[in-house]
């Protein structure tokens, strides 16, 4: 070893001689600091003007260096560069003939700020957790974590903001381990800057309750944003101010703080540029604690507002404001307190016309309508949550209070009648959810929960002048219709469970008692020409009282052995329902036993891949919405009542799913088939005319079945730096319609294929392509009467992004829709948008110029086909728009 070093040193000493002999040109010199100290071990590079390094030497202990010049290069094209840590960078051009360069280096504190931090896209995996390196997937143009998420292979973000991993919707969206946003995480993906996030973790088989971890199987997938250490230190925020033509504004103020103890995400927004702020309040996850005892009754009345199959921002003529305040504090005792407050106010307008054809035997019912709708929704929601999630116990109490109201006014033209309609809705609801899960000394687990909720939604539908006089008012003309309906609902549920998490088969038993009280009240009133208010004569008002008690005992058995997991659940429910409405002499008391066993198994074929199978048999009874006897005008064209006993449904469902993931090669695949069959003892029977449809629920053995198959693949292609994916699905369903006294079986088939690719060309241009092709066929069992109906639809978007220089970014995006349908004219739409962004680093400000709908497409037509109904709609769109925005980073 020493000999070798000695040899090297000796050789170095002799070098000048040898070099001189060979007529090689060399330059030499010494590196010194200002005060004369030698700078050792610094790399001295000899570079060509093209910035290519020709040769280099490391300075010795005395700071000396010597560089041998190539024979060919001219001196003028060469320079010496020294970039040594702790010293200022030196560039010194060679001077013709000069062989000695003594260089003074200026000491300076090490500052790596100008050194770019970059990485190559990658995903790491640890057991059930995949960890996406966020910085490596981010591009220049990305701002929020949602922007980057879309580029990650295996991940998918729907237009609603819902996140799916390998085609499975996520259950929780954590920020540094805390579930700050509950299931309303869209505001998080839209607001949190990606630069704050180090890693995005995907946790499979996620169990949110620590006390149940490794003791209970879970199929949930959750996402966790790992926040960078430096981003935890202080509060950050952004102020966005935008204004545009014609008469547009878009403003936002947000503040973000994510540290271990305290987390907040508060956002105030307002705009009239078509940005739907209510989508921030949509429940997207599965992990909500507010499951409620029975769920909320669906609204009885509807204004009949349709929506085109376009992103909402294309047709949403709004003026909205929203406040979204999410705050969480972790106390030292381990207790976590959280409040989520949402408020939203809006006024939006929509203009549309619809033409609907309903095919009945030997007859086609047609109606046309034109709608001009103005809606004024107002919504507030407060959620307070206290949680303690420890290895030995879990406690959670969540209180949710919600108040919202909405007035929808419409002027309509139906066939030839001109009228106006107003639907007023007010929702008040609260629910409290408490859960306590302690682990006992013997390792067994107790699971206690209590849920109490109240829900009310009074609705009033007013129509003037009076329509359908022959049906509603014995043929006499009248002034107006007033339909009132509400179903206040109380529900209470108490449950106690005992879990034995040890042994080969883990067992748990649960006893649940639930009660539901409802009262359906409705009144249909007609205002006569003389302003007298009279009731609708053909039917009494509803005053239906409903009580449902359920007591259920369930046993749940889990097995985990090697690569196999299995779960069997056997619930047995005693149900007692009583409903009465004296006006209809209705007093029914029903008791019965329900069984709904389910089985699920999962076989890990390798560490990351699995095959799963689910089967479920369910027995269900209908709800209050299917038994009221008095007629309700649920829309201006639909009069509905029931004439049947309580609906009873039995159903089988089964699914087989395969999941494949390779984090190293960033390859994700999934495939699955599902089958559902359900048998009900009633069917909705409609009698339709061109003006009104009357629906009753009548006894009928109604079988409905569906079968679906889907597969998807997503991969990062290293050679192209591209994320590419392909999804395909096939879905078939068999349903029945009962129309004008006749049962019509239908068979619908849908095929869909969606390719996605995101890549970069010539290092500078980002290309994003997304396409969806859908083929739909609807077939009637009586082909002689109804022809097959087919619709094909191709929806493709392409965007090109280009960054000509740092801090400037341009994008051009196009979306093409093509619809073809037998016997109809083809539909062809093309939308084009452009965007430019300039970042002014000094001001920490981004300037955005958005141009939307360049082609100024203002009308949009759409077809839809469901069983025996064909509709053709025409919507008014937002036209061309220009908005200039400035985003200040506070």
């Amino acid at each position: 070893m020493y000999r070798l070093i000695l040899f090297v040193i000796c050789s170095a000493l002799w070098m000048p001689v040898l070099v001189a002999n060979a007529q090689q040109r060399k330059v030499e010199g010494v590196l010194k600091t200002m005060d004369g100290k030698a700078v050792a071990h610094a790399s001295v590079m000899l570079k060509h003007s093209s910035n290519r390094i020709i040769t280099f030497k490391t300075s010795d202990v005395e700071g000396k260096f010597q560089l041998v010049l190539p024979d060919t290069a001219s001196w003028s094209s060469l320079f010496i560069e020294i970039n040594h840590l702790g010293y200022s960078k030196i560039n010194k051009p060679l001077e013709e003939g000069r062989l000695r360069y003594d260089i003074l280096l200026e000491e300076q504190p090490i500052n790596l700020e100008e050194v770019a931090v970059r990485s190559r896209p990658h995903i790491d995996s640890y057991g059930d957790t995949l960890s996406y390196d966020v910085g490596s997937f981010a591009r220049e143009e990305d701002r929020t974590i949602g922007d980057v998420l879309k580029r990650m292979p295996g991940m998918e973000v729907s237009e609603s903001g819902q996140i799916k991993y390998n085609n499975q919707a996520i259950s929780n969206f954590y920020v540094d381990g805390d579930d700050l946003l509950d299931d309303k995480y869209a505001i998080g993906t839209k607001t949190i800057p990606h630069a704050m996030v180090q890693k995005l973790e995907v946790m499979q088989n996620h169990q949110p309750l620590k006390v149940l971890r490794n003791k209970s199987l879970s199929e949930n997938v959750a996402i966790n944003l790992v926040i960078k250490d430096e981003a935890k230190l202080k509060m950050t925020g952004q102020l966005k101010l935008g204004a545009g033509l014609p008469h547009q504004y878009d403003v936002e103020l947000n503040s973000i703080l994510f540290n271990k103890k305290y987390k907040m995400l508060n956002v105030a927004k307002g705009n009239n540029i078509g940005n739907d702020l209510s989508s921030d309040f949509a429940s997207l996850g599965l992990g909500s604690v507010f499951v409620g005892a029975t769920g909320q009754p669906s609204p009885l009345l509807s204004a009949g507002v349709g929506a085109p199959s376009l992103p909402k921002s294309r047709y949403y003529l709004n003026n909205s404001g929203a406040l979204n305040a999410n705050n969480l504090v972790n106390l030292s005792s381990g207790l976590q307190l959280k409040s989520n407050i949402q408020a939203y106010i809006d006024r939006n307008e929509q203009e549309a016309s619809h033409r609907t054809e309903v095919f009945a035997t030997g007859d086609t019912i047609r109606f046309q309508e034109y709608q001009g709708i103005i809606q004024d929704p107002f919504l507030t929601e407060l959620t307070l949550n206290a949680q303690s999630n420890k290895d030995t116990y879990y406690f959670n109490n969540g209180l949710k209070i919600n108040y919202s109201r909405e007035t929808g006014k419409a002027s309509l033209l139906s066939n030839t009648e001109d009228f106006s309609q107003r639907l007023k809705t007010r929702v008040r609801d609260f629910s409290n959810d408490m859960r306590y899960v302690p682990e006992l000394k013997n390792g067994h687990i107790i699971n206690l929960s209590w849920q109490l909720s109240y829900y009310s939604r009074p609705q009033t539908l007013s129509i003037s002048p009076g329509l359908n006089a022959d049906v509603l008012n014995e043929g006499r003309e009248f002034t107006a219709i007033e339909q009132y309906a509400e179903v206040p609902t109380w529900s209470n549920r108490v449950s106690a469970g005992y879990q034995l998490p040890k042994g080969k088969i883990r067992q748990s038993y649960n006893l649940t008692s639930s009660t539901e009280y409802q009262q359906l009240q409705s009144a249909l009133r007609l205002v006569q020409l003389d302003q007298a208010v009279t009731p609708y004569l053909d039917s009494n008002d509803n005053d239906l009282r409903w009580r449902k008690n359920q007591l259920s005992l369930s046993g749940n058995y889990e097995l985990k052995q090697g690569r196999v997991e299995a779960n069997l659940s056997l619930p047995l429910t005693w149900q007692d329902i009583r409903y009465e409405d004296t006006a209809f002499d209705l007093d029914v008391h029903r008791s019965r036993l329900l069984i709904s066993p389910s089985f699920r198994t999962k076989i890990m074929t390798t560490a990351g891949d699995y095959l799963s199978f689910n089967y479920r048999y369910g027995e269900q009874t209908g709800n209050i919405g299917g038994i009221y006897r008095g007629a309700i005008l649920t829309g201006y064209r639909t009069l509905r009542a029931n004439d049947a006993a309580l609906q009873e449904t039995r159903g089988h469902s089964g699914a087989l799913h395969y999941n494949f993931q390779r984090s190293i090669s960033m390859l994700f695949m999934n495939a699955g088939i599902t089958y559902n069959k359900s048998m009900a003892n009633t069917i909705a029977s409609s009698v339709m005319t061109d003006h009104i449809s009357q629906t009753v629920l009548i006894p009928f053995e109604n079988n409905v079945s569906s079968f679906g198959a889907s597969a998807g693949i997503s991969k990062y292609i290293f050679a192209l730096g591209a994320t590419a994916g392909l999804k395909g699905s096939w879905f078939t369903s068999r349903t029945n319609q009962f129309l004008n006294g006749e049962s019509l079986p239908f068979h619908n088939i849908t095929w869909a294929l969606s390719p996605v690719i995101e890549t970069r060309l010539w290092r500078k241009v980002s290309v994003n392509y997304e396409g969806t092709g859908t083929w739909m066929v609807s077939r009637s069992a009586r082909e002689s009467i109804l022809k097959d109906r087919q619709i094909q639809r191709y929806d493709q978007s392409l965007s090109l992004s280009y960054s000509p220089k740092a801090h400037l970014f341009l994008r051009l995006a196009g979306r093409h829709q093509y619809v073809t349908q037998s016997d109809m004219e083809n539909l062809n739409y093309f939308f084009m948008d452009a965007k430019a962004r300039y970042t002014l680093k000094k001001w920490r400000t981004d300037f955005d110029l958005d141009l939307t709908n360049l082609a100024n497409v203002k009308q949009y037509e759409t077809f839809s086909l469901t069983a025996n109904q064909f509709s053709h709609s025409q919507y008014h769109l937002r036209g061309r728009m220009l908005v200039l925005k400035a985003t200040f980073n506070l």
Partner: protein, 314 residues
């Protein structure tokens, strides 16, 4: 890599061997001064360590902490996985004292290419850290001197401009890509000495590849590049002798190293990190024992293609 498999076998000889190394080590003496890590770089090491099984190369995330005058190369997959386990165990031990006893050991293997290495070019020193049971040893290795030939080719890796260079080392001919804009003369494993950080390296046969993953700055993080404080100095030969003895009978060595009071072990955990880059499985009891035996057999003939082909052991 595992503690507490309760095989009670006696082999005093081995104990002696371990004790000898400890003695020869003469305590701790770190000539190299600690310095702050300024940045770090992650590579994916892809190594065909078994030429009979080329389809399944070893894949590991390796990290180099970069200082002004020193670097530290470490198996990041292992470090992260073990950090997580340790954290979990701390939590568990806090909650139910004594019912679970398990000691994780940081460095599960010192397989060729995944060694824990500290490089001090100024002093021309290379120190490898290895472990026998829970004791860490500082083993001084030959300082790698590489005669780089700068190539003409340049390209871009993840946005950095890089230039090609090549050198022979350890019986292999390496072609590397280094970034002059990143002023660190370090790189993966023992490759270093260029006027810029080495982002990628591959040997001529393609059996050894270091692929760039991340570069990050560590300012304000406060991580130090410092040799383990309690590390015991040993020569490569001394260490190899003790290691062989220990590997032949791990139980004896473990007993001698197990902390007091760990006699009442009620459950054991073994953590398996596979070649796929840190897929972690936690096994218990018999499963763990089987896995260990299987791996031992596998490793015996699997490692026929080490990174350094012509290592002359002194």
């Amino acid at each position: 890599m595992i503690n507490g498999i309760d095989i009670m076998e006696k082999c005093n000889l081995i104990l002696w061997a371990v004790a000898l190394v400890a003695f020869v080590g003469k305590g701790t003496a770190n000539a190299q001064t600690a310095e702050v890590a300024l940045a770090s770089i992650d590579y994916e090491l892809i190594h065909v360590n078994d030429t009979n099984n080329r389809d399944e190369p070893v894949k590991r995330n390796m990290r180099v902490y970069l200082g002004q005058e020193s670097s530290h190369y470490v198996d990041q997959s292992a470090a992260e996985a073990f950090e997580k386990i340790e954290e979990r165990m701390r939590e568990m031990n806090l909650q139910r004292s004594g019912s679970v006893s398990s000691i994780s050991i940081r460095r599960p293997s010192s397989r060729s290419g995944m060694e824990d290495l500290y490089l001090y070019p100024t002093d021309k020193k290379l120190i490898m850290i290895d472990q026998i049971s829970t004791t860490e040893y500082l083993i001084e290795q030959d300082f790698p001197e590489l005669e780089w030939i700068i190539g003409d080719e340049t390209k871009e890796i993840a946005g950095y401009s890089v230039q090609q260079a090549s050198a022979d080392f350890g019986g292999r001919h390496y072609t590397v890509w280094f970034a002059p804009d990143l002023p660190f003369s370090f790189g993966p494993w023992k490759l270093h000495g260029l006027p810029g950080l080495i982002l990628e390296a591959a040997d001529k046969s393609g059996d050894v590849q270091f692929v760039f993953k991340d570069f990050g700055r560590l300012e304000g993080v406060g991580r130090q590049i410092v040799l383990p404080e309690k590390g015991v100095k040993a020569s490569p030969a001394q260490f190899a002798r003790a290691k062989t003895a220990f590997d032949n009978n791990p139980a004896a060595g473990r007993q001698s190293n197990a902390p007091a009071g760990s006699g009442t072990v009620t459950s054991q955990q073994i953590v398996i990190i596979d070649n796929g880059g840190g897929n972690r499985r936690t096994l218990t009891g018999d499963e763990a024992r089987e896995e260990l035996d299987r791996r031992k057999l596998q490793n015996a003939d699997a490692n026929n293609n080490p990174l350094e082909i012509n290592v002359s052991k002194k």
